[in-house]
């Protein structure tokens, strides 16, 4: 049994079916890249894992627990940390308040998050709404880390950011893998960066898993076919 295991996951938005059979396996301490073109079901898959999309069928197991019947907050408490698409920090709260609002005991605390992202320490008392996009993204990652997750899920964490800030985020993710040994499920469009950090990859096409395996085995022809790069 893998650390995170999805088998035959189907999901629906009302009468419209978005996922038709997603299979995904991730071992503890691994980084898995979840890839696919726009609209292929990556964000829906994440929503199913985090129980934000409840109209779903199939198996979702994490750390030996069946997540399919849990409400979202209980699913999160099993050790899932989500960095959502579009960041969505709590705008009126300061950086420090955003981080402590949902903190749970564990190795990640305010000081450690600031060590990973020194800019957050510098902006400690600034409201989230006044931060740059990159800083908000760091805050969103920091907020998820403060819940001391066992699996960090990042949905388009570098989308729309300046190249220098993207590099900072990728370097932080590499640090999380190398030093913290955290399991990561990363959705992103930058294949080059994903190749550098991910151990395995899963590619979705029209709501189904069409390729899964070690990142090193992902041939350029497969990437061309399903990712259009």
């Amino acid at each position: 049994m893998s650390f995170l295991q999805l088998r035959g996951v189907e999901a629906f938005y009302g009468p419209s079916q978005a996922l038709f059979g997603v299979d995904l396996a991730l071992e503890e301490g691994e980084v898995c890249a979840l890839m696919g073109r726009n609209g292929m079901g990556k964000s829906s898959t994440i929503k199913v894992i985090c129980r934000l999309l409840k109209e779903a069928r199939g198996t979702v197991e994490f750390a030996g627990q069946d997540l399919t019947r849990l409400p979202p907050h209980r699913a999160a408490r099993t050790g899932l940390g989500l960095v959502p698409e579009g960041r969505r920090c709590f705008a009126p709260l300061t950086v420090h308040e955003n981080l402590i609002a949902a903190a749970r005991p564990g190795p990640w605390d305010f000081a450690r998050v600031c060590k990973l992202f020194p800019r957050l320490g510098e902006r400690r008392d600034q409201v989230a709404a006044s931060l740059s996009g990159g800083e908000q993204q760091m805050l969103a990652i920091g907020r998820a880390l403060m819940t001391n997750p066992r699996l960090l899920i990042l949905d388009e964490a570098t989308e729309g950011l300046a190249p220098v800030v993207r590099q900072e985020i990728w370097s932080a993710l590499a640090t999380l893998k190398r030093e913290a040994g955290l399991s990561l499920l990363v959705v992103d469009k930058s294949l080059a960066e994903l190749r550098a950090v991910a151990d395995r990859a899963v590619i979705l096409e029209r709501g189904s898993t069409v390729w899964a395996g070690p990142m090193g085995d992902l041939a350029a022809s497969v990437a061309d076919r399903y990712l259009g790069v």
Binding site: P72, H73, A76, R77, R88, L93, T94, A101
Partner: protein, 328 residues
């Protein structure tokens, strides 16, 4: 650097005892009583502000808790007055005129009521939440009217002021001191609550409930705890208000009372720690200044409320201090 809002808060905080002390020096006990009324009504507003300001819960039924607190005082004191026990079996429960005991009963009774009302009401949102809280308030109002054992529609008069160890609570300035210290303690608690992880999570849940769920928090539970704390504080205010008037009646449960408590919060500034203090002070001032000129002073109050809602969304505190600076 101390923010402007902090200075305004401290000024408001000092103004209330200063008014009472000047009134004492001028031998104007009525003004001391008015200052006491402001402190107690502000306390009720601080209670509502926990639910409304922090949690975004527009409750139009907070008079339920205000009334429960009032009747807790009225029932306990009336039994102490008549020497008739409240209950004989299975255990003997007698009335009391001890303020701390009455406060404890008022807090527990209103917190329990808030737990029951909140557990049901918080399953709804928006206008349904407003209506269901209003309905609970009105249910208790009609229950009090049809409860002849405690005065029914006529209410219940208490002939003595309840006691506080070491104080003569019949002395207006000493009773003011009691009410003011309770207000100060609750303001301190509410201020700490807003900055604690619970308060921050509650504020976050108001903004984005789904996001709060993904970090492992249940918005329903956060709101329920806030609603219970809010009801308990409003209940405590009800007990003090009944003590001030030495009278309780079903009007404490009425929807007009809920509306007035909400007006204190809106006038002063929703979510501003000292908003209810400013709002209650202005309300009482208008009641006595404009009320002396016209019986229809509520018309002017309505006009003022309209102006505040349209042009000063942060209420009087917001108007004076500007935009809220991240939990100064």
């Amino acid at each position: 650097m101390i923010q402007r809002e902090t200075l305004i808060n401290w000024a408001l905080f000092a103004l209330l005892p200063a008014t009472a002390l000047i009134a004492l020096w001028m031998d104007e006990p009525f003004i001391i009583t008015l200052a006491t009324k402001v402190a107690i009504l502000a306390l009720a507003g601080v209670g509502l502000n926990i639910a409304l300001g922090l949690g975004g819960l527009v409750s139009l039924g907070h008079a339920a808790f205000f009334g429960i607190g009032g009747y807790a005082m009225g029932i306990l004191a009336s039994h102490a007055q008549s020497y008739a026990p409240l209950m004989q079996t299975p255990v003997l429960i007698e009335g009391t005129t001890s303020m701390p005991v009455i406060w404890l009963v008022a807090i527990l009774a209103s917190a329990l009521a808030a737990l029951a009302i909140g557990a049901l009401s918080l399953r709804t949102t928006g206008v349904y939440f407003i209506m269901i809280t209003l309905a609970f308030g009105q249910m208790l109002y009609y229950f009090a009217i049809s409860w002849p054992a405690y005065g029914g529609e006529d209410g219940l008069s208490i002939y003595v002021r309840n006691g506080f160890p070491g104080l003569n609570t019949l002395d207006p300035i000493q009773f003011f001191a009691v009410a003011f210290v309770v207000l100060a303690a609750v303001l301190f608690f509410a201020g700490r609550l807003a900055r604690a992880p619970f308060g921050l999570a509650l504020a976050a849940a108001r903004q984005n409930p789904e996001r709060v769920e993904t970090v492992g928090l249940a918005p329903y539970r956060l709101r329920l705890v806030a609603f219970v704390l809010s009801g308990a504080v409003t209940g405590l205010a009800g007990a003090l208000f009944a003590d001030l008037n030495r009278f309780v009646s079903p009007t404490m449960f009425s929807w007009q009372m809920s509306g007035e408590i909400m007006i204190f919060v809106i006038l002063g500034g929703v979510g501003r720690l000292f908003g209810p203090v400013a709002g209650a002070a202005l309300f009482i001032l208008l009641e006595h200044v404009l009320g002396g000129l016209s019986d229809y002073w509520h018309v002017y109050l309505g006009g003022l409320l309209l102006l505040v809602v349209l042009f000063a969304r942060g209420g009087m505190i917001g108007l004076a201090a500007g935009r809220e600076v991240a939990h100064d």
